[in-house]
């Protein structure tokens, strides 16, 4: 993924990737908050 905004298709794939990564980060933060 040299440039995720080279085509609409790659931009859309980047959106899905961003959603997945952000969901994981938020889940980790919320779980850590619940535990500690």
């Amino acid at each position: 993924m040299l440039n995720p905004l080279r085509t609409e298709e790659e931009a859309f794939r980047f959106l899905l990737y961003a959603i997945a990564v952000i969901t994981v980060i938020v889940a980790i933060i919320l779980i850590a908050r619940a535990i500690f």
């Binding site: 085509t7 931009a11 959106l15 961003a18």
Partner: protein, 205 residues
């Protein structure tokens, strides 16, 4: 004599009047490069607003949201799903025109536009009912600034989508030439990614 032949050679390279054609790399089309650089500058603008947000919350240690205020997380989560689904319809339109499917292009663009309008309407409705104003405090200011900056981007995206929609219904775009759909699409996905970041930082975390 020599000077004249050089002048002729130079003239021969540029038959047309006006400035020479702009140089561009073979790897990235100028239109895509323009949108990419624009998006990079947009990320910097959003970064400035996020800096203010994190300064208030982390460096200053102020409560979030401010005492006596609540943020409508569930309605905004619903609104987030609306915006995310508009990226799927945008992609549907894009793959549609690539495959020569004009129905998918028109239906996809129109649905994307309507979903975007719904998002903006719900956001404005949230402002009207949220119960605090930008001048009430630092947290309220940055809440309106971040969501308002994003709302401005949705508005610009909707104007682009409206233009694409009108052109699509008038028979423009082909499987070979559909850059006019592709580049607003990239912008729309950017607006969507940015909303997810704004939603997570402002409403969830």
């Amino acid at each position: 004599m020599e000077a004249a032949s050089i002048a002729h050679a130079v003239h021969g390279e540029h038959d047309h009047h006006g400035p020479p054609p702009a140089n561009h790399s073979s790897r990235v089309e100028p239109q895509l490069l323009g949108m990419l650089l624009f998006i990079i500058s947009e990320i910097m603008v959003f970064g400035a607003f996020f800096t203010a947000y994190f300064f208030i919350r982390v460096a200053n240690g102020d409560p979030w949201p401010a005492h006596g205020t609540t943020l409508p997380v569930l309605p905004t989560l619903f609104n987030t799903f609306i915006l995310v689904s508009s990226s799927f319809t945008m992609h549907w339109a894009q793959t549609g025109i690539k495959n020569g499917n004009r129905f998918a292009l028109k239906a996809g663009i129109l649905t994307t536009f309507l979903l975007g309008c719904t998002f903006l309407f719900l956001q404005i409705n949230e402002y009207a009912n949220i119960g605090f104003a930008p001048q009430n405090g630092a947290q309220q200011t940055i809440f309106y600034s971040l969501t308002g900056l994003h709302g401005a981007h949705v508005t610009i995206g909707l104007i682009l989508l409206l233009l694409v929609c009108v052109r699509a219904f008038r028979g423009h775009y082909t499987p070979e030439e559909h850059r006019g759909v592709e580049i607003p699409g990239i912008y729309w996905h950017f607006v969507d990614v940015m909303w997810i970041v704004v939603f997570v930082t402002v409403y969830v975390i």
